[in-house]
Symmetry: C2
Subunit: 343 residues, 2 copies
């Protein structure tokens, strides 16, 4: 009665299971982690003992002994954002019933905060890391490279993954959306953007490439703010842009929140959509196809990005090579009523 459960609170340990099953502790450990490596009989005995005792392995002891925690660290720039909510949902679903824990960190779009969180996360020796974007600071890159675990950069694609990457081209998304409005005959196509994180910047670059190629570029039509995105901000940005350039006949909105705000503002101001003003959003939130009029937008595969980021990481973790290391999930232009064309 000396050593028995003095501090641990009396939960059954692996030693209790081993004693009951009449085997050694290490065999119990193996039977639980790699069932294929013990004999069927041993496994059955151990499973029975686990059942009767209600044994639950202690993840902390496991992590300490194996120097590796069953934790997947996830770094997102925002928790407010609908976009990342979908990604996170995909991540949880991608786990299936694998017994990993998600450890989420919110970088608030700050490289320094990302570094800090990365350091905290690495302190736990995570099984894998999922980070957003590809604009990590040099210090963060070093940390990721030395992480000693699979790393997946999500939401974007580029040529130099730290390890693996899954996402799509924001530049192309911006370009395709803008080109669509050009094709529909809009001439004075504006850009409305909030937050202007690196991905927003690349969408803007895509917009600019398209309007410049068509000879329609006018810097006065670009209206951005570092403020976080919201529907009401969409209203404000439209009012502001129209005040400066009343000839505006279409807007490419950096995301669907802004597009919705623009739509509401048009209703309020009596601006006819799509005849007087074309609207195109980005992301394809669920509501865009039932809005009135329905809103053209770029559908991005956010859920799928999260889900597959996890499966890629787990695949690599189990020793298999993951090809390709950079996975482009693309996007779809969803053409709807809001860009039917000017009068």
């Amino acid at each position: 009665m000396k050593s028995r459960s003095r501090r641990g609170g009396g939960r059954p340990t692996i030693a209790d299971v081993a004693k009951l099953a009449g085997v050694s502790a290490i065999s119990v450990s193996r039977a639980l982690r790699e069932p294929g490596r013990v004999s069927d009989e041993l496994r059955r005995q151990i499973e029975a003992a686990v059942e009767t005792l209600g044994y639950v392995p202690d993840p902390n002891a496991r992590a300490l002994a194996s120097a590796r925690a069953d934790v997947i660290g996830v770094l997102v720039p925002s928790l407010t954002n609908n976009v990342f909510a979908d990604v996170v949902r995909g991540i949880y679903d991608g786990l299936g019933d694998r017994s990993f824990q998600i450890q989420m960190g919110n970088t608030h779009y700050s490289g320094l905060e990302e570094e800090r969180l990365l350091q905290v996360f690495l302190g736990q020796r995570p099984a894998a890391l999922i980070v957003s974007g590809l604009d990590q600071t040099p210090a963060a890159c070093k940390l990721l490279e030395g992480a000693g675990c699979p790393v997946v950069q999500i939401m974007e694609i580029g040529d130099h993954p730290v390890d693996m990457m899954i996402g799509f081209s924001h530049f192309e998304g911006g370009r395709v959306a803008t080109q669509h409005m050009i094709d529909r005959g809009y001439k004075r196509i504006g850009f409305i953007g909030a937050r202007m994180d690196p991905r927003s910047q690349r969408r803007l670059a895509g917009y600019r490439a398209a309007v410049e190629a068509a000879g329609l570029y006018d810097p006065r039509l670009v209206n951005t703010t570092p403020a976080p995105s919201s529907v009401s901000l969409g209203c404000e940005l439209l009012r502001d842009t129209l005040a400066r350039t009343p000839t505006l006949d279409a807007v490419f909105c950096n995301n669907d929140d802004l597009a919705l705000g623009v739509l509401f503002e048009c209703h309020r101001a009596g601006i006819e959509v799509p005849r007087k003003l074309g609207i195109c959003g980005f992301n394809d939130l669920e509501m865009m196809h039932v809005a009135f009029p329905s809103v053209t937008t770029i559908r991005t595969h956010r859920y799928e990005i999260g889900r597959r980021a996890v499966t890629m990481a787990l695949e690599k973790l189990s020793g298999n090579n993951v090809e390709p290391a950079v996975l482009d999930l693309g996007f779809e232009l969803k053409i709807r009523e809001s860009t039917a064309g000017p009068r």
Copy 2:
């Protein structure tokens, strides 16, 4: 050179810090956890050693030795939901710079899944637990009562908290919203609801109490579905309800997603809001006040619920008694254009 960092990967340990600072390991441990209990000089020496070595405590070893992990388990019924996204944001912010980890679990509105996750979470001996609602299964209640850590039930209030509670009355919210529409002169007020989890049920009960008291109750005006809520579902439910009861002159929507769908459907069908149809939502998502027309709704303090749930838990964790154990954060009726009254 035998025992030194054989498995640990070469990270500095508390022993390395102790050696460098010329003190014992336990003093380092104390200096880090309870700085007030060591002398200033000792603390300075240790801090310097920590700095030079870049020492980061191993949370797993700490959890194992102390039988308590710096983890707060959070159980939410959905990750898709805007409502819980705000709560989660509040939870993260409530943490401030306290070094706790959030461990999130998604119950998918299932009591059984909640039990399972609770068991997994308790396996880590969390520092605190935050769970949604007050309709836990009896087994889940047992687990919570025996958790040996602070427990906060969020989103709702009731008379029998497991430990602590923070939220508001959904019944009252439903009643007040409905009463408002009655006061504005609407006579055929419908209820549209999706998912119909316990909180939705109580909002419905509040609706019913109000219309019954006014002698306006008609079961044909209540249209609910177990399907998950969405904007497009709001469109469908309105169409369906109008087909069944064309005299409908107002709807109380179970949440803002549905309300937005109803609004869009009205635009599409040419139904004048608020004259032909009054609309009231629930939650006050950001977009509701800029929608056209702006939508009356019940503002709920979701962010604040998350934030204060954490502070309550941490307060109790540090030994202080938390009064009151049941905290009603209330709600606000935000009166806007969509319920200005019938013609």
